[in-house]
Each structure stands twice: as C-alpha cells, then as structure tokens.
C-alpha cells in the first residue's frame, strides 16, 4: 500500500513515506497511529520533516502540525489514545503562550520560549536514544556475528555458588506463584469511563510543566471525543480536588459556571521527573 508513492505526493504522503526509513520491523503500513510510539515519537517524526537540526526546529510550526494531525484524526473519528490528547492540550497551551506577545515577566512558571526549549530538548534526547539504539543493534552480536565455544567442556560456577539462579528467575517464580494463588480472576471490562487515577495522571503530567493559571480542562476537553467529555470532566474535577487537598494544585474560579483555572500548587508535583 505504501508502495505507490507518486511524485505528486502530498505532505502527508511524504510523511508516511519517511516512516518506512525508520528502521522498523513492522510492515510498511505505518499509517496507523498505533505505528507511533506515543506522542513524542509522532512529534519527532513531524520534526524530521522540517529537515533541520532539532535544536533549531520551529516549535510553533511543529505544534501546529501536531494539532492539525489530531484535528484531522478527530474529523475522521479516529480514536486517539489519551497520551496524544494530553500532548495536544499541552501544545495548544504552548502555542497560545508563544503567540501572545511577551508580557511583563512573572516569576511563576516558564515562559513560552522555555517550554519550547524543553520540548526541543526532549525531542533531541529521544532522537539521540534512537540513534544509540540503532548503533547498538548493529554491533557485532554474540550468537549472530560472533560465537562462543559451541561445545563447552565445563562451566565454572560463579562466585562459588553451586546453584544457578538469578534475580529474574526468582521474581518470575514469585510473581507466577502469587498470581496463580490469587484465585479470583477478575476480568475488568474496558469501560468508557475515565478513572480518577487516569485523570489524576493526566493532570499531574500537565501540571508538571505548567505553573501559571490555566483553564486546563478547557484545553484538555477540546481534544476529547464528545462521548468522553462528561466522564472526563467529572473525573478531572474530582481528581483536581484531591490534588488541591494534597497541595499539588491550586484552583480558582471567578464565579459559578465560570471557567475553572488551575495551576501547580506549592506541593511537589507528580514526581514524574526528578533526577
């Protein structure tokens, strides 16, 4: 299917065409969003189509491309995983920060430029890891290019222990056993409900990056399928209250039924990052 790419290829065509060169082992059909390893992968891929050094990409253009992608997916009613939507919300926020003329600098929170730099850095780091992975896998590998003695005569015991077992074996045995014994095989049906935990994770991820008042739900909901909005609103609200209680979030609302603004609270946020 990806075979016949004519000269009159649309940008999207070229985009997919490029993905063939990503050294994937998957079949050539990369059109599926599932072919991407998450939103950052998709962004990296879009960035490459800009064909410049990653440190110099136009983050704004990139954000737009991404948002358009999500937009298009929505138009044809493709269900995107929540990760992608969170990224969309974040980028929409970033875009608004970049487009609004620089105000008097407030102490709280990174500027649009700083956020853009963070994104560029993350992309560059991911790309670096990709390249490292490629170099690694192309090394001369034992059992493929280089071989050990085919008929070993004697295996010396390791540090004098006469029994062989490693941590993985141990954990594997334990996990299997406990799982077997956990008699109740609970099958949880996939529901169309956003759990508190999910909502909490999403909020924390976003709040890790955003520290001034934002109508976060507004950004988030914008990118959710209509069917999900009610449950997402409810869960996000409940989760946000929980986060407020823990001091990780602050909430402000001008009046009844007005937009709810949130920002990172004084408490430690989520702990997704950290050295």
């Amino acid at each position: 299917m990806a075979g016949d790419i004519s000269q009159s290829a649309t940008p999207m065509d070229r985009l997919w065409q490029d993905s063939e060169a990503r050294g994937t082992t998957e079949p050539a059909l990369v059109i599926d969003v599932g072919g991407f390893e998450g939103p950052l992968d998709l962004l990296l891929h879009l960035a490459r189509t800009q064909k410049v050094d990653l440190a110099r990409i136009s983050v704004l253009a990139l954000a737009e491309q991404y948002l358009q992608f999500v937009e298009s997916a929505r138009r044809v009613r493709i269900e995107l995983a929540a990760d992608y939507l969170v990224m969309a919300a974040w980028l929409a926020y970033l875009k608004s920060k970049l487009l609004i003329p620089q105000q008097v600098r407030q102490d709280d929170g990174p500027t649009g430029e700083e956020m853009a730099a963070t994104l560029a850095f993350r992309l560059k780091r991911l790309e670096a890891m990709r390249e490292a992975a490629t170099r690694l896998v192309n090394r001369n590998r034992l059992g493929r290019d280089v071989f050990a003695r085919g008929a070993p005569e004697h295996i010396p015991e390791r540090n004098g222990a006469s029994f062989e077992a490693n941590l993985y074996d141990l954990l594997h045995a334990y996990a299997n056993l406990r799982q077997r014994q956990a008699v109740t095989q609970v099958t949880i049906e996939r529901r169309k409900v956003w759990s508190l935990v999910e909502a909490r994770e999403l909020l924390t991820t976003m709040l890790g990056e955003i520290s001034d008042w934002t109508a976060l739900q507004h950004y988030l909901l914008d990118y959710l399928p209509p069917a999900d909005r009610v449950t997402a609103t409810a869960s996000a609200f409940a989760a946000s209250l929980e986060l407020v209680r823990e001091g990780k979030l602050e909430i402000r609302q001008e009046g009844a039924f007005q937009a709810i603004y949130m920002r990172r609270g004084p408490g430690r946020p989520g702990g997704a990052t950290g050295e």
Partner: protein, 227 residues
C-alpha cells in the same frame, strides 16, 4: 634488562597461560578473573597473563575478549560472514524494546518513570520482561529518593552480547554526555529555538495542508498504545 625472562619464570608463565587458556576456552560464558586466579599457580599476575593471551590470539580466528572482569573466547567478528547463522536470529527485538534497552544502557541506573519521561509514552507490559528474560536488563536497586523507586541497569551478559568490554564503551556515550543528552535537565547551553510566528514558515518548512486521512486509508480502528 629488556631481554629474556629467566627460564624458570618463562616456563611458569607459559604454564599459567596454558591453564588460563584452557579454563576460558572450556567455558561458553565469560570466566571471572577471581576464578582464574584461584586456579593459576600462586604469584602469577592474571592481568599480565591475559594481556599476553589477548595479543597471541589477536590475529587468529578466535579472539580473547574481556567483559568487565571476565574473559571469554569469541570468534573474530570479521569472520561473521562464514559462520553467521541466520536461524539464530529468532528473537527479534521490537523497536520499543530496543529503545528501552538503549535508554537503560545509556542512562543507568534509571527508573521506569524516567524511561517513560524520555520516551514520552508508557512502557507497555512485556517490554521490560523481554529484556529481563534475555538477561540483558536487571533490577539494580532503589534510588535513595522519596518513594525509593526501583532502578534498572544492564547486565554483564548485555555487554557480552553486544561486544562491549564495559559500559564506558557504549558507542557515542561521551558525546551524548557532553551534549547533556543523558541528563534529565536541559543543559544550560542548550540553544533555545527562536519561535517564528505561524505566518512566516521558514524556507525549508512545508505547511501541512488539507490532510485527507480517509483518502490515505488512515481509518484504522482505535490505534493507540494498547497492551
């Protein structure tokens, strides 16, 4: 006295070489120096013996290689074309698994949250399991920070498999470190891109225009990460 070692000494050295050679040759797994030391004549310098053997086998079809403080004989890499067995490549790593492996190797000790931060996506179940089962990745310990998250790292077997003497030999490690790309933070000298406003795309940028995904056959049922 650059000259010959005394005969007794020389005989002892040769004997040590032969023993070390035999022990390492006999085993398919790398053999530790401690193990060799135990079995070599008293007072022999293991490192020196191994260094001589490395030289002796350097040009041969089988080479003596070091993996951290262990030694193994391996066929010479340039002979891969004659010995290479295609059927052995049964366990092909998925792209995700390979990426996670690289991140663990270059960033170790690293927590799962950090891996996910770098990849921007949840690690699907089974990815780590595959790497652990292959014996390349292991739990290392716990980070001494709140929550004490478990850290991951590579094993000696990983080094052996990819032909590395030690972690420092990972390709490009120094450059990546120098560029600040192995840290969780943006390096201070990281260039902050100047955002161009949406209207003026730079010359080498194409705006993505009307995307007709349907036409492209993008209509796949619920893609996403899935497990």
């Amino acid at each position: 006295m650059a000259g010959e070692r005394e005969p007794v000494r020389a005989a002892l050295d040769l004997e040590a070489e032969r023993i070390a050679e035999a022990l390492v040759f006999a085993s398919a797994e790398p053999v530790s120096e401690a193990f060799l030391l135990e079995r070599l004549p008293r007072g022999v310098d293991v490192r020196a013996v191994m260094a001589r053997l490395v030289r002796l086998y350097a040009g041969r079809g089988v080479n003596l290689v070091r993996v951290e403080d262990r030694w193994a004989f391996r066929t010479a890499a340039d002979l891969s074309f004659v010995i290479r067995r295609d059927e052995t490549e049964s366990r092909k790593l998925s792209r995700a698994a390979l990426e996670v492996l690289a991140i663990i190797a270059y960033h170790q000790p690293v927590t799962r949250a950090e891996i996910e931060e770098i990849r921007g996506v949840q690690t699907s179940r089974g990815t780590l399991d595959v790497l652990m089962e292959a014996g390349w990745v292991r739990f290392r310990g716990r980070r001494r920070t709140p929550g004490r998250p478990v850290t991951l790292g590579t094993t000696p077997r990983f080094l052996d498999h990819f032909g590395l003497e030690e972690i420092r030999d990972l390709p490009g490690l120094e450059e990546l470190k120098g560029a600040g790309l192995l840290s969780g933070r943006i390096p201070p000298d990281f260039r902050i891109p100047v955002p161009v406003s949406a209207d003026d795309l730079s010359e080498d940028e194409d705006p993505i225009t009307q995307l007709d995904l349907e036409e492209l056959g993008l209509l796949t049922p619920g893609g996403g990460e899935g497990e």
